[in-house]
Amino acid sequence: MDIEQKQAELIDHFVKQALSFHGEKGIPLLAALVAEATSHPSLFAFSEILSVPSLAELEGTSYSSSLEVLRLFAYGTWNVYKSNVGCLPMLLPDQIRKLKQLSVLTLAETNKILPYDQLMQELDVSNVRELEDFLINECMYAGIVRGKLDQLRRCFEVQFAAGRDLRHEQLNNMIKTMSNWLSTSDNLLHSIQEKIKWADTMSEAYKKHQKEVEEKVEDMKKSLK
């Protein structure tokens, strides 16, 4: 939630700028905007910028690679970039760092426990110290990820990871998960209500039974006297 609040203003700023650039003169400015957005240290969400209509004008021009870069940063990872390096422009050091940060978020989406070996392979890092420095300085301090570094088991336990931009096909899964959660919560509430009713009924029955027993004891005492 904090990361979303932090980048909300930035997203607004970039979206407004993108909306103001259109036509042939706007295309190089849009490309520069994309480079600036993908290099910005505090911006990790790009779907709002992607959905600006003027960005579609980049398609088919000499700046279409900027659109591909934006899509890469919205949905892709460092490995995807490496396998398509021929089709994409050279990234700046700031962009490389950001893409690696986003790759950590993607990895955290699937697993809560990330082994160091997997992380070193995904991020092209040669040793554990460098990996830990990256995770602490670039990920945890940036607020996109919270977790524990377990040096004994050589893994990173993720407690929280910021959300990345979603593709349309991912929405179905999310809706299904939330429906399941909703129905479980509803069922739980119903069963709690039923248990409360049961407890009340049992308590009434017990009081009634106790009263009956006391009355019987009194009757017995009177009859014995």
């Binding site: 709002e48 959300g163 991912q170 999310m174 939330m178």
Partner: protein
């Protein structure tokens, strides 16, 4: 609302909150202990 979608996605990724054998073992042990205490209390009441 892309921001909301990202937040929801981040939240759903955090769940299940705990998923490990050790937690299950500890949880079931607590469960058993409480059931045992309930059993003993029932005997005491009787």
């Amino acid at each position: 609302d892309n921001s909301l979608l990202r937040q929801v996605s981040s939240l759903l990724r955090r769940l299940p909150a705990i998923e490990s054998e050790k937690f299950q073992d500890d949880f079931l042990m607590e469960f058993n202990d409480t059931l045992l205490v309930t059993y003993l209390a029932m005997f005491t009441n009787c």
